[in-house]
Amino acid sequence: MSNLKNHLVVPFSILPISIDDPFNLVEIKGVVFLKKNLPVKVPFINYFLIVLIPPCELVSGNRNLGQPFSIGIRFTGFLVAAHQILDIRPIIPVASIYISFFNRIGDAGFLLAIFLIFSHYGTLDYTAVMANASTLSTEMATAISLCLLVGAIGKSAQLPLYTWLPDAMEGPTPVSALIHAATMVTAGVYMVVRNHVLFDMAPMALATVGIIGGITALFAATIGLVQNDIKRVLAYSTVSQLGYMFLACGVGAYTAAIFHLMTHAFFKALLFLSAGSVIHALSGEQDIRKMGGLHNKIPITHKVFLIGTLAIAGIPPLAGFWSKDEIMAHAFVHGYYHLYLLAAVGAFLTSFYMFRLTYLTFYGSSRVDPHVAHHIHESPSVMTTPLVVLAGLALFGGFLGVPPEHGWFHGFLHEVAAPLGAEAHEVGWGVLFGLMSVAVAIALGGWGLAHYMYAIRPQMANEWAAKSPQVYTTILNKYYVDEFYDCLIVEPCKKLGMLWDWFDRHILDRFVVGIGRGTDISAGAITWVEKYVIYAGLNVVGYSNHLLSWSWRKLQSGMVHHYAAIIVIGLALLIHLVLVWFVGSSAADMSIR
């Protein structure tokens, strides 16, 4: 038991620490970036440190499933706030509601998974759950896995909950680098790998993971083709690369997923920080249509950016080649041809849009705004040093996983990331080399096309865009997914809110006020009744008393003969009554006679 635990704890704790390297570099960079650009330094750095805490907690707190994961999952809120407290650029107000909304949808799914686990096991201790994983029925495992998947999708920006990630690009570059490259978005992948025992028991859920990953990889790559903001291209590239990691999980290549997670951290942090260096050099310009010809003005940035591009495009022997090829080869060898196809097309597009970005930024004629042009300068060494370190990692980091499936990295993760019940597929080197050459051909093909379109015939892209404007604008507007969600979720929610607010003010409150009014009116009615019925009745009694007493007063005149007459009349009446009473009416009649 403890042995198992150690195996679980150690690799996963050390691994992200190696990914932590970009963190620290990122952090240094952040400080410099701020010195130059921002009036508010202290809050930024503070918030930045806050941002750093949750990922560290995420990886170090692996004793139980519940808390640390959710900490990691929900800390997006902090991040959103952190990047917005600076608001370097105006934020589209509607965009940010998605960020919270979609992340929380992921959270909700993840919470459900936690509750399902708890209701089945009565504990959330990771080791206890995983040790008894086999007691789950397939249905239960599927339910838990799918709920976990929702959480992973929300966190790792997969279809259909990906729209928040590119919007989070509005923040400063170091934050983007942190979100995209190192940890935050990869937390979803990490979670799937971490709980792969559960996924292995639910083939349906695992297939869903793969398909979502494959489609996202392709889908985000197509959007990346036409974006004009340097950071947005990289953002969609991140979504796409995360798709590869999910695809890897879906085909059971957990080690490859983590391997790609690591290499991606190297080259994407590099790309983001060098993009930040470019933006810094151009005094805040992010539109690649206003760049070009920068290669000799900012040489260091240019070189490291090129290394990053080569790495992500999958040109051997850079880091990205090894990890991406391993994923694709695994998919092919294990018979997931549809996923292989998606990944291959995605790889072609990746290579194309990354080289498009490089050509438009660094080569060709300068399209830089003349006001900005004479400010262009290379960043100070405190900014370029981290870039060089990251470039080294992007160049050589992939060798940790060489040879494919048998590298140091695979041995390192073998204990924890080997799928359950996977039979060994011994594949000949011939097949592997064949697949590698296909991958290289795809990467070079994308490069070649980009070279042709943006270096040899620069007007070609515009011609294509003009030829089919509908397709171009659809992709440029990200397939209108934002608008779709706006119509489908956000607006109805607001409408419902307004309707219920109206209901609260005008129906519910009126109802209560109406009861109050009713009380008021009935009180008035009662008052009226009291005044004009009860009092009147009493008054009648009173007045009749009054009259009666007046007549009685008249009798008491003080004259003796009046009294004598009254006595006589009274006596007569008395006798008459006595006779009627005791003798009967006949006697009375007689007496009168």
Binding site: G66, F75, A81, G122
Partner: protein
């Protein structure tokens, strides 16, 4: 019969009547500075004594502690019986804490009749304390009604709204209406006791010792429910809340939003006294529906509110939905979670009302349509608002998460379907708070705002820090608090499900995890 622990000093009587005595002393004072210093002294001493009481409280037991019992009206069985247990002890601390902060808050801001204001505040403290420490139902009822007097004057005299008179009257009438039914319910309980024991009693511990037939339990449950639901307020009995909180002063809003008297009543009386009614299928179905409706309704209405106070009103209706749903999960985690959430709201929602007050003093409104970019002028306020707001939406690491997580866990175990609906509240909570925060606090600076807006002064800073400390303390290390409530929560669960062994769940999930870490 629960055991009772005595304490040498009548500490609960002191907590209840010391503020009242203090208020009387204030009456004789003339100097305004002396008045506020005196009030601060009284509130601080009260806080110190309350902290001492919390320190001496024995955790992990269901015993009634610091008990004081004297005869009051013997022939009706009404006694002066004070005690605290796990259910009420944290509320005592919370009340003292919030009143202390309110005195700090009022220091410079209340310039109109400060003496009367502080007297009302202390009167409020005394009566609220009385509510939480009363074990005798009639004594409880007396404090419950007395509390309306200072509240009425606070809303009527110091409310910033135009319609404060109307709001004050509405609040008092509404609550009175409910409590009449509650009084009838209490009397029925006592009559039932009379049938069994040939003597009247309103003492909770006495009443617990007799059986009540189910039909009578149901009748009493609904009568008491009306009283509690109006006060809580449970959806749809909430329509006094927007008026009282928007028209009333911020001090009143803090108390009404922070001290959850209504839902406390369920745990104090309804569950232990009426266990069969509380788990009657119809009752549970109705209460669950009301709770879930409140969660979704409150959150969605909160999304579109422009006035921050109104947003907070609906957010607290939504949170109360969580509390109700958690309680009626009728299991350990659910009840523990809803108790913790009630305490947490005293830091988060009440804290947001404090911050709303800070903004209101500077701008004269808190309308999101007329302010944006406040972070540039008031970075400290923006920071505190983020911390407290995150607690309000239940970010892990803050207290809100502990309560919410336990509630959802409890509900999910009882009825996964209800749990799945309640989880949607998590989504909406983020939407309404973050959306407001982005528009009002971030974003471009609005030109119509005054050119000079001062950031928080030292008093306001102290309030923010105190709230943040509590938020992170409960969020990161909740064990001490959970240990205090565990025993009594287990007792409530045992009464609900007698004979059902829940020993293995005796320890709270999170406390176990935290101690392990």
């Amino acid at each position: 019969m629960q055991e009772e622990l005595q304490f040498g000093f009548p500490i609960l009587s002191f907590l209840t009547f010391f503020p009242l005595l203090g208020a009387l002393v204030l009456w004789s004072l003339k100097d305004q500075d002396l008045i506020r210093k005196g009030t601060l002294g009284i509130a601080s001493l009260e806080m110190v004594v309350a902290s001492l009481m919390l320190l001496r409280f024995v955790p992990e037991t269901a015993a009634m502690q610091f008990a004081e019992r004297h005869e009051w009206i013997p022939f009706l069985g009404i006694s002066y019986h004070l005690a605290v247990d796990g259910i009420s002890v944290l509320f005592v601390g919370l009340t003292a804490f919030l009143i202390l902060l309110l005195v700090l808050y009022a220091w410079d801001t209340v310039t109109d009749r400060p003496k009367a204001f502080y007297m009302c505040l202390l009167g409020m403290e005394a009566t609220v304390m009385g509510i939480f420490v009363s074990i005798d139902l009639m004594l409880f009822f007396v404090f419950w009604e007395l509390m309306l007097i200072p509240s009425y004057f606070l809303i009527k005299l110091w409310g910033p709204g135009e319609q404060r008179q109307y709001a004050a009257l509405k609040y008092v009438l509404y609550t009175l209406l409910g409590s009449v039914f509650m009084l009838v319910g209490f009397c029925l309980l006592s009559l039932n006791y009379f049938e069994a024991k040939q003597a009247y009693s309103f003492d909770l511990l006495d009443l617990l010792s007799v059986q009540i037939p189910l039909s009578l339990q149901l009748l009493i449950f609904w009568l008491v429910f009306l009283g509690l639901a109006f006060k809580a307020p449970v959806f749809p009995f909430h329509s006094w809340l927007p008026d009282a909180l928007v028209q009333g002063p911020f001090s009143m809003s803090v108390m009404l939003a922070g001290i959850k008297l209504g839902t406390y009543g369920f745990l104090r009386f309804s569950f232990p006294l009426l266990p069969d009614a509380s788990q009657h299928a119809t009752v549970v179905a109705i209460l669950m529906t009301l709770g879930l409706a409140a969660i979704v309704y409150g959150a969605i209405v909160a999304i579109i509110q422009a006035d921050f106070r109104r947003l907070l009103v609906f957010s607290s209706i939504s949170h109360l939905g969580f509390v109700v749903v958690g309680m009626f999960a009728l299991n350990f985690q659910g009840i523990q979670g809803s108790l913790m959430t009630m305490i947490n709201l005293g830091f988060s929602t009440a804290g947001l009302f404090f911050l709303a007050g800070f903004i209101y003093e500077r701008l004269g409104h808190i309308d999101v349509r007329q302010c944006s970019g406040l972070a540039k002028k008031m970075p400290l306020l923006a920071t505190f608002m983020l911390i407290i707001g995150m607690a309000s939406i239940g970010l892990p690491g803050t207290n809100g998460f502990i309560g919410e997580f336990l509630i959802l866990l409890g509900v999910f175990q009882a009825w996964w379907f209800y749990g799945a609906i309640a989880v949607t509240g998590v989504i909406f909570a983020a939407a309404y708070f973050l959306w407001f925060y982005e528009r009002a606090i971030f974003g471009p600076l609005k030109e119509s705002l005054p050119a000079v807006i001062k950031d928080l002064n030292s008093r306001e800073w102290a309030i923010g820090v105190a709230l943040s400390v509590m938020i992170f303390w409960i969020g990161i290390y909740p064990s001490p608090f959970l240990r205090m409530v565990n025993g009594s929560v287990q007792e409530v669960v045992d009464r609900l499900h007698p004979g059902m062994a829940t020993a293995q769940q005796h320890d709270s999930l999170i406390s176990v995890e935290v101690t392990r870490n």
